[in-house]
């Protein structure tokens, strides 16, 4: 498979239409693994990094889920291709800027991706749309076990899988869910949620991980600790935290509707108008408008089927995807023009809002 055909194929994330994806957009699990007796990527000499890369690439590409996969070194990809993979959450920003001897293997359906020589020799990832922690775990542990047939992992009975950074010791697992929480943001409760979640040993980050902002009211919630608990326990704990957050978001939505439905409908109606008619849209503004439309879908104002469109646009409004769709170079200053044009096109045929009957102060 080539990078061009991969990019032109909708990913697991951009092609979801299940109603399970209402609040949890997607679930992701990654495992950190290293080869026994081999220096970690950050410390290995470049010749050794190349050797590690080839060993891992051959082993990964030979597993069943990676049949007809794409595999490439970072150097083989253009800057734009790397950016698109980052925007799809298939590789990390660190890998996209890695030195020689680093690369990736991505499955045909883009559900599995393996980064080689990022911080650890191997970072195995599985990505599923919606709230599917258990299914994701089953998939990733299967890939991991298949690799174990070929590779000798660095492992200690006491510390578990040995990783470059001690924060990943033990299971080497980070399970995360990407959640759309517009009502908690509008109601100003996110800070409280973040604090409570932290106390439960989970971390909240923005859409693109550490240090990124939460435009579009999209947050990533993941486990912080990896040692001292079995994978299933971590997943169970994360699952119950996610369910609690979902409950709070639903409550917040109900309260917003009770307190001032008119104000909420106004926001959603304006978002629709701007998306249909604006000529300049920054990435942040576009994300926030799309988030309001998505909330409208959840509240029955737009048809359910539109959710997949919005979720696709969350990704396609990102700079790398915009540039790719445009085919060719354009000035950074033109980006907002292009984004607005793209969204105008999409929203020209978007279902009109169907607001429930409102008593507008008459009678």
């Amino acid at each position: 498979m080539t990078i061009a055909s991969l990019i032109d194929t909708p990913s697991e994330l951009t092609d979801s239409s299940s109603s399970k994806t209402a609040i949890v957009l997607m679930t992701r699990i990654r495992l950190a693994r290293n080869l026994a007796g081999t220096a970690f990527p950050g410390w290995a000499k470049s010749a050794q990094r190349e050797e590690i890369f080839e060993t891992c690439r051959a082993a990964v590409a030979g597993t069943a889920p990676m049949k007809r996969s794409l595999n490439a070194t970072i150097a083989e990809l253009s800057e734009l291709e790397r950016q698109i993979l980052v925007e799809r959450h298939l590789i990390s920003r660190e890998l996209s800027g890695a030195k020689a001897g680093a690369g990736l293997v991505i499955s045909k359906d883009q559900a599995y991706s393996v980064m080689i020589n990022e911080e650890d020799h191997l970072r195995l990832q599985v990505l599923r749309s919606g709230f599917q922690l258990k299914k994701a775990w089953n998939s990733i542990t299967e890939l991991d076990s298949a690799l174990e047939e070929q590779l000798d992992y660095a492992f200690s009975p006491q510390l578990g899988y040995l990783t470059a950074c001690p924060t990943n010791l033990g299971t080497g697992m980070r399970a995360s869910a990407m959640m759309h929480l517009p009502a908690l943001v509008i109601a100003g409760q996110m800070e409280k949620v973040v604090r409570a979640v932290n106390q439960l040993g989970m971390v909240v980050r923005g859409l693109f991980g550490e240090g990124s902002d939460a435009s579009g009211s999209i947050f990533q919630i993941s486990n912080q600790t990896t040692l001292g608990e079995a994978e299933e326990e971590i997943i169970k704990r994360l699952g119950s935290v996610l369910n609690t957050i979902i409950e709070h978001e639903l409550n917040a939505r109900e309260k917003l509707m009770e307190a001032d439905a008119g104000k909420l409908f106004d926001k959603m109606g304006r978002a629709y108008g701007i998306l249909q008619h604006s000529h300049l849209l920054s990435s942040g503004e576009a994300m926030n408008l799309l988030s309001l439309i998505r909330l409208g879908i959840d509240l029955g104002i737009y048809p359910e089927a539109s959710r997949a469109v919005v979720d696709r646009l969350f990704i396609e409004a990102q700079p790398g995807h915009l540039q790719h769709a445009q085919k060719g170079e354009f000035e950074p200053g033109q980006r907002d023009l292009l984004r607005a044009a793209r969204l105008r096109g999409e929203f020209a045929n978007f279902a009109r809002p169907d607001f429930p009957f409102m008593n507008d102060g008459k009678n």
Partner: protein
């Protein structure tokens, strides 16, 4: 720009730097904001550097300055600079540094999850094979042919088991 120092207790960047002179010896501690707070460093009345240093001295095997990982040449100073280790064996070499660090970092200090069973099995088969081959040579040398025959049979069995768990 130089890499900022990492906290002595966790991999975050250190923002609190303490120097205390005890018995004419200079002790330096670098901590991040959170660890500093957790250790009461920000509360001038309650804090004693001695507590932190004492903790370090309770390590199972204190790591002497200048120790290098025998497999990759990594030092403790490298860890402070990068916040990452050099190779899997570093966890053995720098045990005294790692163990106290885990306490605040994780839910426990003992792995409870998945175990790479096949890889471990492979390693123990390999060790068994090495031993049997030595035994075989020894048996032939001392003309204990019955023992030699038994070793050869066992070697074949182990090799067969190996065939089912291909090594990389």
């Amino acid at each position: 720009m130089a890499n900022p120092l990492k906290c002595d207790l966790c991999p975050k960047p250190a923002t609190v730097h303490l120097t205390q002179i005890v018995n004419n010896k200079v002790h330096k501690v670098d901590l991040c904001e959170e660890c500093a707070q957790a250790k009461g460093v920000t509360d001038p009345s309650g804090f004693s550097l001695a507590d932190l240093l004492l903790k370090a001295s309770l390590n199972p095997e204190p790591v002497a300055a200048g120790v290098r990982c025998e497999q990759c040449g990594f030092t403790q100073a490298d860890f402070k600079k990068h916040g990452r280790f050099g190779c899997p064996h570093c966890y053995e070499t720098f045990r005294g540094v790692v163990e106290p660090m885990l306490e605040g970092m994780h839910k426990g200090s003992e792995h409870k999850g998945k175990v790479p069973r096949r890889a471990i099995e492979r390693r123990s088969l390999y060790e068994r094979l090495t031993k049997l081959e030595l035994d075989l040579t020894e048996a032939i040398k001392t003309e204990r042919y019955e023992d030699a025959a038994r070793c050869r049979d066992e070697i074949n069995q182990v090799k067969q088991a190996f065939g089912q768990t291909p090594a990389r």
